[in-house]
Every structure is written in C-alpha cells, then in structure tokens.
C-alpha cells in the first residue's frame, strides 16, 4: 500500500476531546471511596487538545521541511515528557521518611498510596503534555513568520 504524503484530515474541533481530561478529577472521588487511582489516568486525555493543531494542519503536503519540523517538535515534546516522568519516578523512590516530610502525610498507610497516586497523575500528565506539545510545536515551527529583514 502506498503511503500518503499528505497529513490526515481531522476536524480541529476534535481538540475539544481534550476536555475529557477533566474526567481525571473523578479519581478524587474514587480514591476517597475505595482508594482506586485508575481514573487519574484520564488526565492523559488532555493530550487530545493537540487535535486542534493537527486539524489546522490537515491535508498538508509532508515535504522535507514538514518532516524536519515534525522530528524537531516530537523530539522536544518527548524530551519534556520523559524528564517529567523521570523526575516523578525519582520522587517516588525517596524513602518513606523523606516522603512524609515532603508531603506532610501523617498516616503511614498514605505513603504508598500517595506515591502511587502521585506517579499515576504525573505519568498521565506527562503523556498528555508530550502528545499536545508534539502537535503544537509542529504547528508553531511550520508557521514561523518569515524574517523579511534578510532580503
């Protein structure tokens, strides 16, 4: 099958799906109910805001400049996402006493639950940020204003 050299057609209004990320706040309720942290993963849906910028670039011919900008944008976005995830992981590996000092938690049971909750939220937000930034930066790089002063 021949690969298309045009970006996929997407309605920029699909970016509104990013508001699904608000479902992540349901985690506060479920956590209080039975310590379920899974719904916090829905914060990852904030990444769908990137559809807005992808939609604005629908049907664009992917020439070499576009592909270069795409690599540049993805590199920057994934690097930021990776470092957020990495620092979140480092923070959760500190010993319990330091964690209690950092968070002010008094209940020892809260320590591991708190770490899990923190890591879940941080990873979901890192993924969302990486997804969004890869599209936003691509749009920005591709639409950098021409510097008229050089000619």
């Amino acid at each position: 099958m021949k690969k298309s050299n045009v970006t996929r057609k997407i309605d920029p209004r699909l970016g509104l799906l990013g508001f699904l990320g608000l479902l992540g706040f349901a985690g506060i309720w479920t956590y209080r109910l039975d310590h379920t942290v899974f719904p916090f993963l829905f914060f990852g849906f904030f990444g769908f805001f990137g559809f807005y910028f992808e939609g604005k670039m629908s049907g664009t011919l992917m020439d070499e400049r576009f592909l270069q900008n795409k690599l540049r944008a993805e590199h920057a976005a994934y690097r930021i996402g990776f470092w957020i995830a990495f620092f979140a992981l480092v923070l959760t590996t500190v010993n319990d006493r330091m964690w209690i000092r950092l968070t002010g938690a008094s209940d020892p049971l809260w320590v591991n639950n708190g770490k899990l909750l923190f890591l879940t939220v941080a990873l979901a937000l890192a993924a969302a940020l990486a997804l969004f930034l890869s599209q936003y930066l691509l749009y920005r790089y591709d639409h950098e204003p021409l510097d008229e002063s050089e000619y």
């Binding site: 011919l61 020439d63 070499e64 400049r65 576009f66 021409l146 050089e150 000619y151």
Partner: protein
C-alpha cells in the same frame, strides 16, 4: 540563516515559473520555496539538485555558503 545565500528567486523568474509551479515540480510546498528564496531554509542535497534541474541553473550558483 547565517552564511547561507540563495539566488533561487532570480533564476525562477528567469524561467518564468511561479513559486507554486516550482513547488509542484520539485514536490514541496509553496511555503518551502518561499523560505528557500529568503534563505531561511537549508534544503537537502536532493531538493537542491531537483531545484537546480528545474530552473536549469548550476547548484553552486543557486545556493552558497559563506563564512
């Protein structure tokens, strides 16, 4: 882009081509040709060769790097 010079516009106009026509001939977008003409994009060797062929001008005349 420092030290990069491009004389594409002159040779394109000599050939009587529009930016859109040249872009189609070499398989890029018009914006890419625009940025090339303003020396704000450094093309790949293949694109540089394709453009040189399209406007029938030597590649070293079209694109120059100076310190």
């Amino acid at each position: 882009m420092d030290g990069f010079f491009c004389d594409l516009k002159k040779y394109r106009l000599l050939k009587g081509l529009t930016q859109e026509q040249l872009a189609q001939m070499v398989g890029v977008r018009r914006e890419t040709v625009m940025r090339l003409e303003k020396a704000q994009y450094n093309p790949s060797l293949k694109l540089a060769f394709d453009i040189a062929k399209a406007v029938e001008a030597p590649i070293d005349v079209l694109f120059r790097f100076e310190d």
